[in-house]
Symmetry: C2
Subunit: 258 residues, 2 copies
Amino acid sequence: MYSGPAVRIIVMTEIPKTHPRYESLVLREKLVEGFRSGIAAPQGLIAHGRGEMFYYLLGERTTKEARAACRAAAALLLQAERPVISVNGNVAALCPREIVRLAEAASARIEVGLFHRSDERVSMIRKCLEDNGAKGVLGFLPDARIPGLESMRGLCSKEGIYSADVVVIPLEDGDRAGALSKMGKKTIAVDLNPMSRTSRCATVTVVDEVTKALPEIVRSIEDLEDDPAGVKRALKAYDRDANLAAVMAVMSKNLGSL
Amino acid sequence: MYSGPAVRIIVMTEIPKTHPRYESLVLREKLVEGFRSGIAAPQGLIAHGRGEMFYYLLGERTTKEARAACRAAAALLLQAERPVISVNGNVAALCPREIVRLAEAASARIEVGLFHRSDERVSMIRKCLEDNGAKGVLGFLPDARIPGLESMRGLCSKEGIYSADVVVIPLEDGDRAGALSKMGKKTIAVDLNPMSRTSRCATVTVVDEVTKALPEIVRSIEDLEDDPAGVKRALKAYDRDANLAAVMAVMSKNLGSL
């Protein structure tokens, strides 16, 4: 999409499938691609690097804690009356298809919500989601404001995030996650850093790589959708802080043995 | 330097000095700036994010292990006959002045060595270093090859890295660090990941943020330069694997308490 020198001169990396970190490297290239097309911000690349590190500390695999959190997330979505999925540049670059599938499974609206907002980027992300089958994507013409966030960052849609009861916030900024919680919304974070403000303020926090977490939430929705008792059990069984502590213990143990 | 949409649309972040992670955020913006000017590669932004994470786990401060490693690094440089400092895009974006100061203190040559190499980027980095006072920067016209690396990545200068006895490799790629070790060179890594291949194959590994580590090495050179017994002691006292294990223990302890 653009031809500035910083991008033109980069040699694309060929990744052999036998590489032990193949999946992680493919994700990285996907994100660089999304960045080149203008969907992801440079700050998003740095944030992705932080995530990569935590994923590496997790052993690059889905933990049982992540699965339990996905089950609780599914239960929360099944109880929701107005669920909305907030999508930013990194999420759109990494897993537009998975977002659309989750929106379908959870009967949720999709809203583009950016920390580094511009109309141009919102519209590119909307197009990317629509190309992957999304309908009625919100966020292009914001008509409401999340209290407590400075002007551009607080913009949202009245019929979307503003009036939602449950908001899925994959790879969300801590300020924005905190402001949504303060509005009284239940939030479902997907975040690889178990210590981030986002992770510590969400109602349910899934500590896993986003392209793995979203399909797992969809599977849990399918499991639980005709099982109201199962929904209640999944929520009752989930304790965010205990879940995060267990994830940190996994990372701590891996530090030094990887 | 360029005006593609992915960059034009980004809102630059104003960071209040009171922010608990002010220094880390300033470094991030420096790197984004270096990326915009074409010095740093997109993959470099992601790598920086990984580093940020480890720095965060370190508590964003210099450990006594890092200081000991800087002392050993200084000792190695004082013993060197042909020391060379290898500079890549991230290093040039973050601390060109510190590189020049280290080169002066250690009487070392500076060579631009890129993983994602292009003549254009080498020349921009050379210019950035020269603007900060560097003289005789090598790497623009490579005339030798590091064995074991594929074509572009193995390029180096005969009078620089190729014939060096000690090479300083801040923020180095694991393949390149390994290949230099295999050539029999002593290497001084500056790397925030104590588990990286670079960290585990260098002669001396400083686990600290690069803009802190380089001035600390300069200070140690000043301390040790007229003290041959001190040089010997610093090298004898340094045990890379024990040092890395101690750093990992700090990180492991911080995981969960940050």
